[in-house]
């Protein structure tokens, strides 16, 4: 049957082509120096600006062309992707807990990663602030106001969103400070804030959209840089940023993924990339994107003035580090779960 043979030959050819093409694609991805940065959602705009600056810097120093790809998603989902085999060279995530999870679940990052870079491996910090409607009709100034009856609070779900965990811990830290370490009163305060939440979005961006576009709620608890972006995006005439007198110092960390860079031979470039984040050029870009730079001296004065001074407490001081906070508050059966259980009883 000549027809069958020719079709079989054609199939063989197609298969060979397919295999060849996939080898080619795989090879080109491995060969040239290309770095993949696995990051979280709100840094989309930041790394879009930093990457070209690093490419130019690397070219000037080594004469090599380098390509940088950024992948964005929920911080936990990105961590999971790295554990499951995403060949990223660096991880720039929202929480130290997510990088710790990579260390623990896959061993792809050395356990001492936090000590390998200055400032706890956080080239930039941020804090948690409030976005309210123009004129601040509900007169919201501090965390205590969010617990008042009749205030609708929009915040993402701490069980699914890294940013939401910072929100929660900021409120908790404020409570401990205000009530002189009284855990019960703090729990009551934070519980009241979450009872005021009519909806828990799964991510920080989703919550921003719920508040800004759907018009739900009186106040959005969010990253400082996200608040600025939302105000810019949806109109300064509609929203106001309220910075509470005290909030948490959010430290999004960065780390080189050792196992991946060693396998790909990109260690030098990857290390240069994370170190570049601490240079004057990168620090200036960081401040421009409403993050708080680790070295404010390198940033432009005007950019820094937009970020008000407030009393910032760290997670290490108040909660004894991420691992501890994670276990006490967010694990199954933790404090947040207990509060939600109580809430369910009184919700309509």
């Amino acid at each position: 049957m000549p027809c069958a043979t020719s079709s079989r030959r054609r199939l063989g050819k197609a298969l060979a082509l397919l295999v060849g093409a996939s080898i080619l694609v795989a090879a080109s991805a491995e060969a040239g120096t290309a770095l993949l940065n696995a990051s979280y959602d709100p840094t989309r705009e930041l790394y879009k600006a930093i990457n070209p600056a690093f490419i130019a810097d690397w070219k000037a120093r080594t004469g090599e062309a380098i390509e940088i790809q950024s992948s964005h998603g929920g911080s936990g989902a990105q961590g999971r992707a790295v554990i499951d085999g995403l060949r990223a060279d660096v991880a720039t995530l929202a929480l130290a807990a997510d990088i710790d999870a990579i260390v623990k679940k896959s061993g792809k990052i050395a356990p001492d990663w936090r000590a390998r870079l200055p400032n706890n491996a956080s080239p930039y910090t941020s804090t948690i602030v409030f976005l309210v409607r123009k004129g601040n009709p509900k007169k919201i100034a501090d965390w205590g106001d969010l617990a008042r009856p009749g205030i609708a609070v929009v915040t993402p779900n701490p069980k699914t969103s890294g940013g939401a965990r910072w929100n929660y811990l900021a409120a908790w830290g404020y409570g401990l400070k205000t009530f002189a370490g009284d855990e019960a009163r703090t729990k009551a305060l934070v519980g009241a804030i979450y009872r005021n939440a009519p909806v828990l979005d799964t991510g920080a961006r989703g919550a921003t959209i719920t508040f800004a576009r759907r018009g739900l709620g009186d106040v959005l608890i969010t990253w400082e840089n996200e608040a600025f972006l939302a105000a810019l995006e949806f109109g300064k005439d509609k929203f106001e940023i309220v910075t509470p007198p005290a909030s948490i110092l959010a430290e999004p960390p960065v780390a080189v993924i050792d196992a991946n860079v060693d396998a790909k031979g990109t260690r030098k470039a990857a290390e240069a990339y994370v170190n570049f984040l601490y240079t004057p050029a990168a620090q200036a870009i960081i401040a421009k994107h409403y993050y708080r730079p680790a070295h404010p001296e390198f940033a432009e004065e005007a950019d820094l003035e937009r970020l008000p001074k407030l009393d910032l407490f760290t997670i290490d001081e108040v909660f004894g580090g991420w691992a501890e906070a994670q276990k006490t508050h967010f694990a199954d059966g933790g404090v947040f779960d207990q509060m939600q259980k109580q809430d369910a009883a009184v919700r309509p």
């Binding site: 929920g74 936990g76 989902a77 961590g79 999971r80 554990i83 999870a101 679940k105 779900n157 069980k159 699914t160 939440a197 009519p198 909806v199 828990l200 979005d201 799964t202 989703g206 576009r213 759907r214 018009g215 739900l216 967010f330 694990a331 199954d332 779960d337 939600q340 259980k341 809430d343 369910a344 919700r347």
Partner: protein, 287 residues
């Protein structure tokens, strides 16, 4: 199922002769495809969940938050599929029995929920039913809240399930002769009697299939629901969201545990529906 019913009474044979040749190749492909795409991933899932053991699985299922989410998912899916059966039948009837301007256009629109990314559906529905949305705002005046409550979940699930019912019932309606209705009328049956005793019985198996498909889709639905549900634990949290929650805590075993429980419940419900279907087919015959 029909093959199963038909094979009963005849001598059991592995492969009945057919006009189309190539049973070995196609059977091999079927097994290969089913194993690679369906059975292999699912058995991995169960393997992972088996770390928990039966007692552990029971523990996961009875954990109050998981139990609440499972109840929410399955009950609302059931209700949504039931609503879909009623309105899907009506839509299918109109689309196949009447000739009117724009019928083909409407017929094409029915399939849209198949093609639309579910997240898009969820975002659009949430925008419509939110307190400041086109539908939500007038309702809010009467203190009716849809978005960010359980009703929101129902709306989203009805939306994604409807085409399944329409598409399974439509060919059957096209097959039913109008003469059957006329005969029933000349014999003195009322309209209601005609519908209940002449038209609905032969359609029952197809309606059940549509129900099963809509139900199955609803149980697994994630994208369209999370945007409109509100996601409040114990109130409007669906089981697929809990799987994501558990993954977000790097609790792979817990996540696969919830998934396995969902799989088991879904499978039993679908099996039950299939059995009823086989029974109804035997009882009412095929058109």
């Amino acid at each position: 199922m029909s093959a199963f019913a038909a094979s009963r009474g005849k001598a059991w044979r592995f492969a009945a002769p057919s006009v189309i040749p190539g049973f070995r190749a196609t059977f091999g492909f079927t097994i290969f495809y089913l194993s690679l795409v369906v059975l292999f991933p699912l058995s991995l899932l169960i393997l992972r969940a088996s770390e928990l053991g039966l007692a552990g699985l029971y523990g996961v299922a009875t954990e109050p938050r998981v139990a609440a989410a499972l109840r929410t998912s399955f009950f609302i899916s059931f209700a949504a599929a039931a609503i879909d059966v009623v309105f899907g039948l009506v839509a299918a009837w109109v689309l196949s029995r009447y000739e009117f301007f724009g019928r083909r256009f409407l017929d094409a629109i029915v399939d849209l929920p198949f093609a639309l990314p579910t997240a898009v559906a969820g975002i659009s529905l949430a925008a419509l039913y939110a307190p400041n949305g086109w539908i939500g705002e007038p309702l809010a005046a009467y203190d009716i809240k849809i978005a960010f409550t359980r009703w929101g979940i129902l709306v989203a699930l009805v939306f994604v399930g409807l085409p399944f019912v329409v598409r399974t019932v439509q060919p059957l309606i096209a097959e039913i002769d109008a003469e059957l209705e006329e005969a029933s009328a000349t014999l003195g049956a009322s309209r209601a009697q005609t519908v209940w005793r002449v038209l609905l019985p032969p359609m029952a198996p197809a309606l059940l299939t549509g129900f099963a498909l809509a139900f199955a889709r609803s149980v697994g639905e994630y994208g369209s629901v999370i945007f409109i549900a509100g996601n409040i634990a114990y109130v409007s949290e669906i089981a697929p969201l809990l799987i994501v929650v558990k993954l977000e805590q790097f609790d792979y075993t817990g996540a696969t545990g919830v998934a396995t429980i969902m799989l088991a419940i879904s499978f039993s419900v679908l099996l039950a529906i299939n059995l009823i279907q086989a029974w109804s087919q035997k009882r009412f015959g095929h058109v």
